[in-house]
């Protein structure tokens, strides 16, 4: 039998071929490139599933395909391309190719049926985007990962700016590109530092950099450090440098500003970016080289804290947004914050779990939003919607499933993964104040998430239509409903792959499939198992209420309670016929339901105050964070203006400056060298 490993490059190459075909085939293609893209991604999906199955049968492997260059000199280094197929990458391959295929199908409805022009360029971009993300996933070394990471960024630039004739998209594309690129430069320096330190950038094997780092910390190996720096300090610095790229791509505070702007791109692209490709790349990278990160407690704590903070910070901003996609954008930032929190607090499996469930329900929500946007003739303002529930039932029910998952309501997928993250953060955080702080922020974000999610759901689908568009929505076809249904099912059931709480509470062994999967239960690559990571991680577990089971139950109860609370608040405020006139309506009711009046009054007060907090978070975001980003660029541009004035255009001045420069050099080096 042919082994799946021989076909791994094809997983990457198929979408790449569709990119080439779309690029050169232009308008001669059926559906202008869509079918090619669907076929390619379907092929990738099939191969990925095959790979998944063969990994399940113990066929994890690492293979080098191509060597770019080998260096001579004191420290030989090799730049190679290869594939690392282990449980983690096999799982991710399936997620990426599945979401990519669904997005391609959905695009038939969103782009082709809407008569967008220039579609071959769109499908070419999607193909390249998918290919580069898949290439990133299989990368077996940091340099290859970096190159595909960059390619992902470039594709996002091309796709976000797809509607380049409008004013918004080009600048949003540029912002996305430059902000993530800003983080990537730290990443680049980090890659170079890894090479210099270890002489290799491989992820797996005894000669890989996580393994060497571990050995170096145990004193079993020596590595280069700049200026004789303490090994652990240097590892922390390197880890943080690479984290720069992660923060940029995964839109963590403070480099998250590009992501809401990136909503200017076509909605299917947003789905792809948020669920499976670009943003997921950052978190995946941390998971990929987790063996390195767990060695540095400082880095871990920073990751956890940034994650927790981002989760809360972005969630509060989601509360005040008017546009459907804006809400989803902030929810993405927030959810990736959770994943970072999980990674930082030692919850490797929890992070991958949430990455998986989030990929499905966020793709679902974006595609659902796309469906709504089609129906609303590309109006995205939620205050113009309302009452779409009956007119588009498929969209409504799937969207609802996604929202329940996002809000973390039992038993939808998001509940299980988010609960496990919070649980990990809690048990590891009881000794670590920083982790505990991150946990608290993550917990606080739960009701906020539920609140804004259901505010969105209620405003969009419930109540009375608030505009003529909403009264007569544009119908959507199978190519929209199909992907929605697939994802809707997944959003409901994905939680089943990792029933850890159930296992712990009821004592049923063997239903925590994801744990077993990532723990090389069915075979994997030595040194890349969650078990190994758990041994390395710097935390100890503490339990509340005298035991594991009670801690699990208490944690789940608290987070579910908070989520339900948020949901209830949203219900009360927005699940009404006409939420905008909420307060006026109260006057008629007060004689009849006096007590309810107080209750409503209280709710209004809560709403106003949440609004104030969220609003100030939003202001902070727009003013300070954006301001700093803009500030850096304006300072650069200002200094650029100053620096170029040196070139006065008068050749005598040049001669003078040249002489002065030379004289200065002569004097300085004469003094240093003692020539006089």
């Amino acid at each position: 039998m042919v082994s799946a490993s021989a076909y791994v490059p094809a997983i990457v190459l198929l979408p790449f071929v569709s990119f080439i075909v779309a690029l050169f085939g232009r308008d001669n293609l059926p559906k202008r490139g869509a079918y090619g893209g669907i076929a390619a991604t379907a092929g990738s999906l099939a191969l990925s599933l095959w790979v998944l199955v063969s990994v399940r049968n113990g066929a994890a492997f690492q293979e080098t395909y191509y060597t770019w260059a080998t260096g001579v000199g004191s420290q030989p280094w090799g730049l190679t391309f290869g594939a690392l197929i282990d449980p983690l990458s096999a799982l991710m391959l399936v997620i990426v190719s599945l979401v990519a295929m669904l997005v391609h199908i959905f695009s038939l409805g969103y782009m082709n049926d809407e008569d967008e022009r220039d579609l071959p360029r769109y499908y070419a971009g999607l193909g390249l985007f998918t290919a580069s993300m898949l290439g990133f996933v299989i990368a077996d070394n940091l340099l290859m990962a970096f190159m595909f990471f960059e390619l992902v960024g470039l594709c996002s630039y091309l796709l976000i700016g797809f509607h380049f004739r409008e004013p918004g998209p080009p600048s949003a594309a540029k912002k996305a590109f430059l902000v993530t690129r800003f983080g990537d430069y730290f990443f680049l320096v980090g890659v170079v530092a890894v090479f210099t330190t270890f002489g290799t950038a491989a992820f797996a094997g005894t000669e890989s950099f996580p393994a060497l780092a571990e050995a170096a910390l145990n004193g079993e190996a020596t590595v280069w450090t700049p200026g004789g720096l303490e090994v652990s300090t240097w590892f922390t610095i390197v880890g943080l440098l690479i984290l720069g790229g992660v923060i940029g791509k995964s839109a963590q505070f403070p480099l998250h500003t590009w992501l809401p702007d990136a909503m200017e791109g076509p909605t299917p692209v947003s789905a792809l970016i948020h669920a499976a490709t670009m943003v997921a790349a950052g978190v995946y990278l941390v998971a990929r080289m987790y063996g390195f990160y767990v060695l540095s407690p400082t880095t871990m704590a920073i990751i956890a804290f940034v994650g927790g903070f981002t989760a809360l910070f972005a969630a509060t901003m989601g509360v005040v947004k008017r546009e459907l996609k804006q809400v989803l954008a902030y929810s993405t930032i927030s959810q990736y914050g959770y994943m970072m929190l999980a990674l930082g607090s030692g919850g490797y499996v929890a992070a991958v779990f949430h990455l998986t469930t989030h990929a499905f329900f966020k793709a679902l929500l974006f595609l659902g939003a796309g469906s709504v946007i089609i129906a609303m003739h590309h109006n995205e303002d939620m205050w113009d919607m309302g009452g779409l529930k009956d007119k588009m039932p498929v969209t409504y029910w799937t969207f609802l499933a996604g929202s329940l998952a996002l809000a973390g309501i039992f038993p939808f997928a998001g509940f299980w993964s988010k609960d496990e993250i919070l649980y990990e953060a809690l048990i590891h955080g009881l000794d670590e104040p920083l982790i505990l702080g991150a946990y608290v922020m993550g917990l606080l974000a739960v009701p906020v998430t539920a609140f804004y999610t259901f505010r969105m759901v209620f405003l969009t689908f419930h109540g009375e239509p608030r505009s003529s568009l909403a009264r007569d929505p544009h119908p959507v076809r199978w190519n929209v409903k199909g992907p929605l249904s697939v994802l809707g099912v997944l959003a409901v059931v994905t939680g089943g792959i990792n029933m850890v709480p159930v296992q712990k509470v009821l004592g049923i062994e063997g239903i925590d499939y994801l744990h077993l999967w990532l723990d090389n239960h069915w075979g994997g690559i030595e040194g890349l198992s969650s078990h190994h990571y758990a041994e390395l991680n710097p935390y100890s577990s503490q339990y509340l209420f005298g035991g594991e089971v009670s801690t699990v139950l208490a944690g789940a109860a608290v987070s579910l309670g908070l989520a339900l609370g948020g949901l209830a608040l949203a219900w009360a405020l927005y699940n009404v016929a006409d939420p905008a006139e909420h307060t006026d309506k109260l006057g008629g009711l007060k004689a009849l339901l006096y007590n309810n009046y107080y209750q409503d009054e209280f709710q209004v007060w809560v709403a106003d105050n949440t609004r104030a907090v969220a609003g100030s978070a939003d202001t902070f975001d727009q003013g300070v964070i954006d301001g700093v980003v803009n500030g850096v660029s304006s300072v650069s541009l200002l200094s650029s203006e100053r620096i170029r004035r040196i070139q006065s255009g008068v050749v005598s001045n040049y001669a003078l400056l040249l002489t002065l420069g030379l004289t200065t050099l002569l004097v300085v080096f004469g003094l240093i060298g003692g020539w006089f």
């Binding site: 170029r644 004035r645 006065s648 255009g649 008068v650 005598s652």
Partner: protein
């Protein structure tokens, strides 16, 4: 015999005079002459130290420097000519349309 340091001082002085000319003159031709002066400072060094070290390398190279100086003048005059044709004068300060 004159000590070699004196030649160094002499050549440095000539070099600085040439440099001074370049910094103060606006006329392209003077600019050119000043640069030649600087080259001649190098030639003085080469010849003097060729004598000092007892090998002919410096003297031979001095001939090359002189030759190249002449070639440089040839090209320079050509450029000054087209400068005059385009700008109507040979003031180097006037050619400042490109800057920043």
């Amino acid at each position: 015999m004159v000590p070699p340091e004196y030649y160094l001082v002499l050549s440095a002085a000539i070099f600085c005079i040439g440099l001074f000319g370049i910094l103060t003159r606006r006329n392209a031709l003077y600019f050119l002459m000043s640069a030649e002066l600087m080259l001649n400072a190098a030639v003085i060094n080469l010849v003097a130290f060729s004598f000092q070290w007892g090998n002919l390398t410096g003297q031979t190279f001095a001939l090359f420097v002189i030759a190249l100086a002449a070639a440089e003048v040839a090209v320079g005059i050509g450029i000054v000519l087209v400068l005059y044709r385009n700008f109507g004068e040979i003031d180097v300060l006037n050619a400042d349309s490109m800057r920043w």
